[in-house]
Amino acid sequence: APSNTSNTSNTDEPTGQGLASQTLSVYAAASLTGAFDELATLLEHENPAFDVQVTYDGSSTLATQIAAGAPADVFASADQKNMQPLGDEALVGPATLFAGNTLRIAVAPGNPLKIETLKDLVRPGVITVLCAVQVPCGAASASLLAKAGVALSPASEEQNVTAVVTKIAGGEADAGLVYATDVAANPDRIQGVTPAGADAVVGHYPIAVVADSAHAEAAQAFVDLVLSPAGQAVLAAHGFLAP
């Protein structure tokens, strides 16, 4: 049944037209916060019958909740690893990649320590924090550092990218690897430095309709919006790459 669901609701149908007012619950990775808030407003604007509620959290938390029966209609993960098992269990419909993200070196505004390359991160006296390898940004960071041949022992492996941003913005750490979208979202608090080879390491974001969704058509409408040129433009404005 799940595979059919995505097919029956089509973009060329008048989206949500004729549907009763319904609340759509979107579970999205925390890094999507700004972009999805905008997309939700966009959809509600397009179709006043929809009330879109987006819940942001770590992808693994959201995946665990969906597996436990959370009332989600759409799941947008920051990595395939958390989407895959749900698909295997047929808890979500087919997943589509809708965005990509690359890493930046985050430093304090003005870059007081003059950090320009990944190698600068291992300079003595520079306190670097990374995401833990278990979370998407950490996996990407590890891969980027490995490709650059930099062996880095971070002061801390944070549980999510927000913690990395907080540490650098608060001055606890001098530098760290974060998503380009985080740099775009916090212009006053951190400054981004694009390391060499950053574009070679791209994190991919899959999106899918939840199999149990009570509002499958509306859910599909949201997915479609994300994948539409308008949606992609919003994502790009927040620093995301095309899938």
């Binding site: 925390a30 436990a68 029966g69 916090n186």
Partner: protein, 260 residues
């Protein structure tokens, strides 16, 4: 009667607890504060938090006081075991509490499946918030009341029995009033813990505006919201702290007057 030597460590202890909160105050964006605190984003979670924490505290009292009595009046060996069991949820990192609750009451969970058949779904509802809060707050109530019961002893209960009073009467008219201070302390502790509960709630109840987004979850959301500075999170925390202090001081003063 206080040994003078104790004032130094006592001050350090108090400073350790109070100074970080003072530190928070420095991070507050004061001009923006009033508008933020009066926004629905602040008031709705606050309302939900107060309601759920109150209900949880009530549940803690209803379930915890009897449990405390049973433990306090058990043989030492049984009491030791029960007390350990009751204390374990304290050790659980909040997340694990959420996993545990989901594995019991979630889809696929032992009890969850049964409830599902009965048309009842608990996770991701306000009920889930209350259960999560009760789960984490109950141990405090039990431990505090049990300690008070044990210290109060059974001398007065025995006297009441020799006067002919049945167990229920003794419990209501003698036991409960005698452990009043301990009961109040336990209630305060469990209310505070329920009010601040985040981890188990986040996983087990989710984070739905108006349904399960309590104040701690609102703070978390504000904190994680990209583009938003920690200002909002700090402001919300301040609100939570302020409300808590008011309630605690009110209760504390009442308690003092009861004792004096």
């Amino acid at each position: 009667m206080i040994p003078r030597l104790l004032y130094l460590p006592a001050s350090i202890g108090l400073a350790l607890l109070v100074l970080p909160l003072a530190g928070l105050l420095l991070k507050v964006d004061w001009p923006a504060l009033p508008a933020l605190l009066l926004s629905p984003e602040a008031l709705q979670p606050l309302g939900l938090s107060l309601v759920t924490a109150s209900v949880s505290t009530l549940l803690c009292l209803l379930l915890g006081v009897p449990l405390a009595v049973v433990i306090a009046r058990s043989q030492p060996r049984a009491a030791g075991l029960l007390r350990a069991l009751v204390t374990v949820p304290l050790v659980l990192p909040p997340l694990v509490g959420g996993i545990a609750l989901l594995s019991l009451l979630g889809r696929g969970g032992v009890l969850g499946n049964t409830l599902e058949l009965a048309g009842l779904r608990i996770p991701f509802t306000t009920a889930a918030v209350v259960i999560a809060q009760t789960f984490v707050a109950l141990p405090f109530l039990v431990i505090a009341v049990e300690g008070a019961l044990r210290t109060a002893g059974i001398r007065y209960e025995r006297v009441a029995a020799t006067l002919g009073a049945g167990r229920g009467t003794v419990f209501a008219l003698i036991t409960l009033p005698l452990v009043g201070p301990g009961l109040l302390a336990g209630t305060v502790l469990s209310f505070a813990r329920a009010l601040g509960e985040f981890g188990a709630t986040a996983l087990f109840a989710g984070n739905h505006v108006g349904v399960t987004r309590t104040m701690p979850l609102a703070i978390y959301t504000a904190f994680n919201g990209s583009g938003v500075t920690t200002d909002q999170a700090v402001a919300l925390s301040l609100l939570l702290i302020a409300v808590a202090v008011i309630i605690l001081v009110l209760v504390g003063t009442r308690r003092a007057s009861v004792l004096s």
